[in-house]
């Protein structure tokens, strides 16, 4: 199975058009990019999660876009439409699409992700009563994803006596690359390590620029079989393997002990390398998820790019600098920190552009095997992509 075309809207704080209109435009552009007509696309997959802890309404076509809504508004009655409901939305959606193609349920599948930045406080929630799972945490003031990642990151910092300053290298690398990308919210706006460290703490040790910025944006990719891909205009990028993960230990809501992240993350990595037939040493372009910067450490270690507890040292001295020959360019596509809160899109898009030879001025040499990660190693997914069938 292969990716044969794509489109992405500009990434902005608040789009001039409603999200659904942006999604229809982007879908039409992706289908045309793949050399197809809308009528040929018979499969639609994607995730419609609005990733806010706030009280914002999920309204299809306005604040979210489901695959079914998108197909209907493209005027297509699809043979196959499926929404992915878990975390690691992009790898999860890709898996639905690949499986639909393999089963013969569809011949051409559109995978889309539409992210919305609602007006008002993104995570602010006026709740007066905490029912269900949140009764165990909200009354104490533990709420929202920033506090969630703050506890996991501080557990890492304390256990490995890691310097918080090391993360400045990661964030500056993401912003350096994002600044070079015309569609990025942060285009032309790199960030220095000094600026990173000078920004306020939100929930210690998480600073402002450890968090990606909420945006409006839509991306769409077209999938088909390797056979059908041969007849299409662009070089196909093959999906060699996908693995997903879920926590295996009962915890409080949003409570992510470091041991849970790393144990399940190691299991995901074993399954990923096994199913894709490649190992970490063969990946030239690992695009690690960075919606919160500590995820970069967790993916580096869980995937086997460095030892456990070593990521905070590994990222220093140019080893992740995309401009240094022989480095591990883990954020060459700018990631979420360098583009905006597009979930796993920047990672997958960079893999696609580099492997298909469509990265333009940013085109890298000798990239045959790439990795796109999304969310946390214990509650997410990862995809291995290749320029040839493995």
């Amino acid at each position: 199975m292969a990716i044969v075309g794509y489109a992405q809207s500009p990434i902005v704080r608040h789009a001039a058009q409603p999200l659904g209109a942006l999604a229809v435009q982007t879908a039409r552009a992706a289908i045309a990019d793949a050399g197809l007509t809308v009528a040929q696309v018979d499969g639609f997959v994607g995730s419609a999660l609005l990733p806010t802890a706030g009280a914002h309404a999920s309204e299809d076509g306005v604040s979210i876009v489901t695959p079914e809504w998108l197909a209907a508004h493209l005027g297509v009655e699809p043979r196959y439409a499926a929404g992915f409901s878990g975390m690691g939305q992009l790898p999860g959606s890709l898996a639905l699409g690949v499986n639909a193609l393999a089963a013969g349920a569809a011949d051409y599948v559109l995978v889309h992700r539409a992210l919305h930045n609602p007006r008002g406080s993104y995570h602010g929630n006026p709740m007066t009563h905490a029912a269900g799972a949140q009764q165990w945490t909200a009354p104490q003031g533990f709420f929202g994803p920033v506090a969630m990642i703050a506890l996991a990151y501080n557990e890492y910092l304390q256990r490995y006596a890691a310097a918080p300053e090391a993360m400045a290298t990661v964030v500056a690398e993401a912003r350096k690359n994002g600044a070079r990308i015309p569609w990025s919210y942060w285009h032309g706006k790199p960030l220095t390590a000094e600026d990173y460290l000078a920004a306020p703490m939100i929930n210690d040790p998480i600073r402002r620029y450890d968090c990606d910025i909420p945006v409006d944006g839509v991306a769409a990719f077209v999938l088909t079989s390797a056979d059908r891909a041969r007849d299409l205009p662009h070089w196909p990028v093959h999906i060699a393997g996908i693995a997903r993960s879920q926590p295996m230990t009962r915890r409080l809501p949003l409570h992510w002990p470091l041991d849970d992240i790393m144990a399940v993350g190691a299991s995901l990595a074993r399954r990923l390398w096994d199913v894709s037939g490649v190992g970490p040493d063969e990946v030239q372009l690992p695009q690690l998820y960075d919606g919160f910067s500590p995820f970069v450490y967790f993916w580096l270690e869980a995937s086997g790019f460095c030892g456990i507890g070593e990521a905070h040292e590994f990222v220093r001295d140019g080893r992740i600098d995309s401009d240094v020959r022989g480095s591990l360019p883990i954020l060459s596509g700018g990631g979420a920190l360098g583009n905006g809160r597009m979930h796993g899109v920047p990672q997958l898009l960079e893999c696609y552009l580099q492997l298909s030879g469509r990265a333009g001025e940013r085109q890298r040499e000798d990239v045959d095997v790439a990795l796109a990660c999304h969310s946390s190693p214990h509650l997410g997914g990862a995809v291995v992509l290749t320029s040839e069938v493995v």
């Binding site: 949140q134 506090a147 703050a150 506890l151 703490m201």
Partner: protein
């Protein structure tokens, strides 16, 4: 006592015994009726033995715990914490049930001398006359 504007826990079938004990400042954990193993929050299936009729009983624990992580909340997304920020949340492992991790406020000010494996004991925040939520204090 003036009632807090913070979110108040809403007890349900599984959690009601926990909150009844909490109102009397007793910390409990849910123990499976089939295997006896502790869990928090209680699940509909015991995560240890797989029993689909776990019939949890709430067993008092000492409330002594070890700090595994913490954060200083300089911003809160919930109502009722405006006058409390910055405040400290600790992520602790219970001495009497090491499988169980809890998160609560540390009531030792905004800049406590915290370190990995610091020892804490249970404390309580009374949100209303009938509702108390677990918190912690450093043991000295």
């Amino acid at each position: 006592m003036s009632d807090s504007l913070r979110p108040v826990p809403v007890p349900d079938e599984r959690s009601a015994p926990f909150w009844r004990a909490a109102a009397e400042h007793t910390l409990t954990v849910a123990c499976c009726g089939a295997c006896g193993q502790p869990t928090l929050p209680p699940d509909v299936v015991c995560p240890h033995c797989g029993s689909t009729t776990p019939e949890f009983s709430y067993t008092p624990v000492s409330g002594r715990a070890t700090v595994k992580s913490w954060t200083v909340m300089r911003q809160s997304f919930l109502p009722g914490f405006e006058s409390d920020v910055p405040f400290v949340l600790v992520d602790v492992e219970l001495a009497d049930a090491p499988q169980v991790r809890m998160i609560g406020r540390l009531l030792d000010g905004e800049d406590p001398a915290l370190h990995l494996d610091a020892q804490v004991g249970i404390a309580w925040e009374d949100l209303t006359a009938e509702v108390s939520v677990p918190a912690f204090r450093l043991m000295r």
